[in-house]
Amino acid sequence: QQPVQSPQAVILREGEDAVINCSSSKALYSVHWYRQKHGEAPVFLMILLKGGEQKGHEKISASFNEKKQQSSLYLTASQLSYSGTYFCGRKGTSGSRLTFGEGTQLTVNP
């Protein structure tokens, strides 16, 4: 039931865009995105509920496609501060536990 993230790693130059995908083999109720900088705790970015919603956080936005059982995180005009590992988490129902993917390591270089 662990969601699958792709790519595993991506390297960008400052100002470039990136997309991180999160796919589930089972039905999704919600998708949660977190960012973890090296040696630090994960920090909540956003949550998407079923219904094809798209939400944003500064220059980071995400979409949720319930039919395809997947979510994508869009990082626009990346900044050095965006570097870190991005995790998606899934819930199958509102009361179920959150299950995390293995993460996507994003590196933004000057």
Binding site: S30, A41, R97, E102
Partner: protein
């Protein structure tokens, strides 16, 4: 508010030893969680609690125990440490009004030799 605090920050254990990882939150959150994160991997849920006196198993509970006698504290107990328990342990909490958002502590790095 200090948020979610964890102690110790780092610990080395010998195989077979026991220890308790402490987690405290001062935000009056009723939901609390324990995760482990192995190198280069995602977070695996060990145990969680929906309130004082109520705990339940997560994905990887074997070798661990928890208790929740107060709203603030959610200690994690390792009874017989094994090398497979070498990991970084994160405690997290959620408020009753927004249980979808989890606030993580700084983590405890545990090495079992």
């Amino acid at each position: 508010n200090a948020g979610v605090t964890q102690t110790p920050k780092f610990r080395i254990l010998k195989i077979g030893q026991s220890m308790t990882l402490q987690c405290t939150q001062d935000m009056n959150h009723n939901y609390m969680y324990w995760y482990r994160q192995d190198p280069g991997m995602g977070l695996k849920l060990i145990y969680y609690s929906v309130g004082a006196g109520i705990t339940d198993k997560g994905e990887v509970p074997n070798g661990y125990n928890v208790s929740r006698s107060t709203t603030e504290d959610f200690p994690l107990r390792l009874e017989l440490a094994a090398p497979s328990q070498t990991s970084v342990y994160f405690c997290a909490s959620s408020p009753p009004t927004d249980r979808e958002t989890q606030y993580f502590g700084p983590g405890t790095r545990l090495l079992v030799l």
